[in-house]
């Protein structure tokens, strides 16, 4: 079978297993949507300015922010944890002993996570349009889709890279969450920003999460223009490439001793 055919096959089997695993289906899929409902219920009344220069209600803001979080959850968190489990279970090693090219296996995982991310974002967007006054970004759709895909690709690469420092599957949820949760809080995702302190701004500038959230907001809410935020996308892509390089160098197919 051809390489692309193999990738499609991997995606289908990964998908089958994904939905049968209650933990992955719940934490990856239900979690972001739950956050959307909880945050908008708690903080949804106020009005805040968002990237793109308009002022929206906080619940509208959350539609874009939680869309970004969904991508991070489906790609970074999901890939890092499930790949660590597959590595500990010896599945990765077994795959290495077959003629399937390694890249086809990994790309299959990334494509699957991206599909999950797209579905999540679509649900967020439809939900937001129905209940939170977040108009579907139809006018800026190209920017919205490109932002989504750059985010999915970059966070997938980072998810693969982080497995290199995860000693075993049991430690993976702790390490993955410790690496992402603080940044999520400091990056205009869980808590909307209005004049954050300088150091928080700095954290946001360095790491890719805030850039992703900003790019998502711009693509969602820009009243004029294409909604593309070039610099944010560039920073995310650089992080993604860094992740790819680190993964290529340090990714392990066998359980780490």
């Amino acid at each position: 079978m051809s390489g692309p055919g193999q990738v499609v096959r991997q995606v289908l089997f990964t998908n089958k297993a994904f939905w049968r695993n209650p933990a992955s289906a719940f934490f990856t899929f239900a979690f972001p949507l739950m956050f959307l409902v909880i945050f908008t219920t708690l903080f949804g009344e106020d009005e805040i300015p968002v990237v793109g220069g308009v002022t929206v209600s906080v619940s509208t803001f959350y539609v874009a922010a939680i869309s970004a979080f969904s991508v991070i959850s489906a790609c970074y968190t999901n890939i890092a944890i499930s790949v660590s489990f597959q590595r500990d279970a010896g599945i990765l090693k077994r795959i290495r002993g077959t003629p399937l090219p390694s890249w086809a296996f990994l790309l299959g995982r990334v494509v699957h996570s991206t599909i999950i991310a797209v579905i999540l974002v679509a649900i967020c967007a439809l939900f937001g349009a129905a209940f939170y006054d977040a108009e579907l970004p139809t006018r800026t759709l190209p920017a919205f889709l490109v932002t989504l895909l750059v985010g999915a690709a970059s966070f997938s690469a980072l998810g693969l890279a982080i497995t290199a420092v995860i000693p075993n599957a049991d430690a993976s949820p702790a390490i993955v969450n410790a690496s992402i949760l603080p940044i999520l809080f400091l990056s205009d995702i869980f808590i909307p920003f209005d004049n954050p302190p300088a150091w928080v701004d700095f954290v946001g500038k360095v790491f890719p999460v805030r850039h992703f959230s900003d790019a998502m907001q711009a693509a969602y809410f820009s009243p004029t223009g294409s909604g593309f935020s070039g610099v944010d996308l560039l920073v995310m892509a650089v992080w993604g490439l860094l992740g790819l390089v680190l993964a290529a160098r340090y990714f392990s197919w066998e359980p780490r001793k």
Binding site: K16, A89, I91, K93, G97, T98, P99
Partner: protein, 304 residues
């Protein structure tokens, strides 16, 4: 007859640990070859070098004409692997799993045929999660067969099997060899090697200590008869039978000519009116031979 696996002077060290210390192996195609040895002897290290998972420290290795350290997908399409410990996705069913792995190979066997072959027909639609340990191992074998490989590696394929499942696994291996497939297996069990293999190599402490068809394996040891007896402490002037007796005066002598040895002993005893207490003449079982082969070297290595 062509050679499937050729190994010369293979060595592998992990830091200070020398796991494999210069072994030679030749496996002809169509042969069932067993690498027999105790825990930590270097079996997994050797097989995983042949499979291409680990890098050797030195030596020459050729598997199906390729060097597994550098060979690519074409090489892996020709071999099937059962690792000592690996899992599969717990949420896929038996059929789905065999289908998934078979699909990686150019000439996959029909899924149901493979599932039947390993005796999992009744579990074909069961998720891996719900299989017993032995059933999961059978699934491992099924996965290795899914791509219809020419050469099959089995690292301890029956450890943990119940006796029935072991017989089944043996049957599967015999089927393979009747299809002219080459099988390289490792095992702790002498009877397994005996029952399945055309040729056996015994490995201990990273060295091959015996090699040959199972019927003649350790021939020298198997031929030897052990004569055991005790001489009361009061008896002086005990001849030197090539051995210092144990503290209670027990001798344990090994001979290829028990008739003559017994004649000499009893003649000596009768002359002095001494009785050879607890006299016992026995021939070692295969298990004894194996234990002895692997123990001897362990002792030598330990005293280095």
């Amino acid at each position: 007859m062509t050679v499937a696996i050729e190994v010369r002077g293979l060595r592998k060290s992990y830091g200070d640990v020398e796991a494999v210390r210069g072994i030679d192996l030749t496996v002809e195609s169509g042969e069932v070859f067993a690498l027999l040895g105790p825990n930590g002897a270097g079996k997994t290290t050797t097989v995983e070098i042949l499979e291409g998972f680990r890098r050797r420290s030195s030596g020459d290795v050729s598997v199906l004409g390729d060097d597994p350290a550098t060979a690519g997908a074409e090489f892996r399409a020709r071999i099937g692997i059962v690792l000592q410990s690996t899992g599969v996705d717990p949420y896929l069913t038996v059929r789905e799993t065999v289908d998934l792995y078979g699909g990686y190979y150019p000439n996959a066997r029909p899924v149901d045929e493979v599932v039947d072959l390993v005796g999992l027909s009744e579990k074909r639609d069961t998720r891996v999660l719900k299989l017993s340990g032995g059933q999961q191992q059978r699934l491992d074998v099924a996965i290795a067969l899914a791509g219809d490989p020419e050469l099959l590696f089995l690292d301890e394929p029956t450890t943990g099997f119940d006796p029935g499942a072991r017989r089944n696994a043996w049957e599967i291996v015999r089927n393979l060899s009747s299809l002219r497939k080459t099988v390289f297996l490792t095992t702790h069990y002498m009877d397994e090697a005996q029952n399945l293999a055309n040729r056996v190599a015994v490995i201990s402490n990273g060295e091959i200590v015996a090699e040959g068809p199972p019927s003649t394996l350790g021939g020298r040891h198997l031929a030897a008869t052990v004569v055991r007896f005790r001489i009361p402490a009061a008896v002086a002037d005990v001849p030197d039978w090539g051995q210092v007796p144990a503290s209670d005066g027990t001798f344990e002598l090994r001979t290829d000519d028990p008739t003559r040895m017994l004649h000499d002993m009893t003649h000596w005893a009768m002359e002095r009116d001494v009785s050879l207490e607890a006299l016992d003449v026995s021939r070692p079982t295969l298990e004894d031979v194996y234990l002895e082969l692997t123990h001897e070297l362990g002792a030598t290595a330990g005293s280095e």
